[in-house]
Amino acid sequence: MLVARRNLAKDKMRLGLSIVGVGLAIMLILLLNGFLTGMNRQITAYLDRSPGEILVSQKGVSNLLGATSILAPGVSTEVEETEGVDLVIPILSQFIILDLHDKKQPVYLVGYIPELGGGPWQLAAGREPQGVGEVVFDRVLANRHKIQIGDRLNITGADYTVVGLSEGTTSWMTSFIFLHKKAAEELMRSPQVTSFLLVKTHEGAEAINVLQKLTELDGLEAFFKSTVSENDLRIFAEVFSTPLRLIVAIAFFVGSLVVGLVIYTATIERQREYGVLKAIGARNGVLYQIVVIQALVAAVTGALFGLLLVYSASWGIMSLRPQYLIVLDPMIAMWALVSGLGMALAAAIYPVRVIAGLAPAEVFSK
């Protein structure tokens, strides 16, 4: 242990650089995971915070985001009359792309009836839309584009006044904006059309039984909101998982190479000393331990530095770009250490082979 520690600490600059390299690689892995967790939370924000337990959609639609659902007028009454249903909240929703300061900004537009609910769950300023010419904008998006209450905005050809700013309705991909349902019908040129129904069940009614009854209605699908959240997450996970896994794998290899370079150099530099240890009776097992301990110390210190970096980087990113939510899992330290251990073991393979091939007599031959 002492030999390993001294060998490693002999050159502090080299050790420092290796810790920085491993730390950056670990930070990248953790940052991407935190980013994905945050994105997932943002994706399900509307379903998590909107009223009701059940979501009713057009037959064949099992997602809120990504899929278009169209329910004909009259469906709402049919659902209301189903046994166990307490309240039905219709919403008309659709992704649209806004052109704000020469930037394309996708937003998820929700048309709702303020008296029933389904709109913003927290207002940072202003009020809910009362008329057709009014809009509630996501606060973060509004700040980014210097939009204030009272401003007039053109949304797909029609002008709207910003009357409120909502909180917790942003994400890096898309933010939410809210209109009165009548305004959304006009904007989408779909009079009396509804996309989804948020259904609240009667107190005491078994939600599963209500769901069963709703699924029996012709042309409709009914799901618990949690199921729809899972479906939405699945769509985005499919899109992002391959690139993400690719980048994490590259980061892991880079980290292993950095530790590998340091341990390899330290081993080669001390080749003669390892030969002496062998000549005086040290077995390969002891020498392997020295190498592995060096790799572990470099990698684990790098992993701890990576932890520090990831917390600082995520704080910096979220302060500068509040649309990004980076959620660092409480188990993050464990993941950092596991990644560090993996890198240490991968990095020790080649130096261990060098030692194994070392002839004890080499020390006396020079």
Binding site: L28, V61, K104, P106, M188, I250, L257, Y264
Partner: protein, 369 residues
Amino acid sequence: MMRLAYRNLFHNKVRMTISAGGVALALMLILSLDAIFNGVEEQITAYIDNSGADIFVTQSGVRNMHMASSTIPVETIDSVEAVPGVDAVTPIHYLTNMIVLGEERQLAYIIGLPEGAAMGKPWNIVAGDNIPKKGDAIIDQKLASNVGIDLGDKVEIMGRSFNVGGLSQGTESLVNSVAFISIEDFTAIRAAPGSISFLLVKVAPGESYDRVTRDIEAQVPGVTVQTRMEFAANERQVVKDMGTDIIAIMNLVGFLIGLAVMALTVYTAILTRKREYGMLKALGATNRHLYVSVFFQALLSVVLGFGLGLAFTLVLAEGLSRLGSTLVLVINSASLIKVGMLSLIIASLSAALPVRQISGLDPALVYRG
């Protein structure tokens, strides 16, 4: 000095491999992320690029297809056809929805095509019809084969069952695929007669696209009119604007990792050759000579790393393509120039680190022990 740098670098092949490999992977991080976004940009405009239309007419204020919806009254078809210079108009319905293939669900652009559509139809049919009959759907061949679905099998679109009447190629991307049904089926399911999503316009031979675009916009109320190129550029802009911050963050991290690896390598290489550098100083070499040698060594390693990083990314792109992945990597000259510039900065900064060691080197060191 360059020869010395070359020999110093290639003297220890393992160290050189590790350093070039580390830089290559760091640069690959930057290159591959750029390539992913370039690939998505290319895929996302596949339908527009291959539609055969010269001009797209949409609802006023709608400038995109992806993540957008457009509704225009059917009367607009006649109004657009009446504009001088318009050769043909194909109305299409469009929305994003799920295709259900057995247990699989896939997000797709659902296109409603009229019988005998001249534009907007699948551009590469490998089996079956190229325009869907009533009750039929044309879906992507790769998507179908992944779940063992063939011509005549059933799929579910917007809650309705369809026979697979055709299989198309080039209609699947990382984000979604494209499926085609008849406009009749689409209108019946959507329950929105009297409206259409987009109009695809063919300009008469010899007519100017820009003039016809301007004339349609001036003569037909409530619509936005764009040439195919403008429409596709707006589509690519969505991906660009969504990816700007992510790419900037990844570029910074990739750059820092590359810098750490290269600085570590150059520093280690100088340290292990300390005596030799002292010898050179004793023989009359100035600090400047040694700095040039160190910089050249760093530059050589980075150039090697850049070449390797590019090769890794190309191999990855080819591998993904052969595996039939929807993740398509496209490397363009802009990202090559960017990564090339970053490589130069990495080489310069990492060569600056051992300056203190070299300048403080005592020529007499070589005569000691």
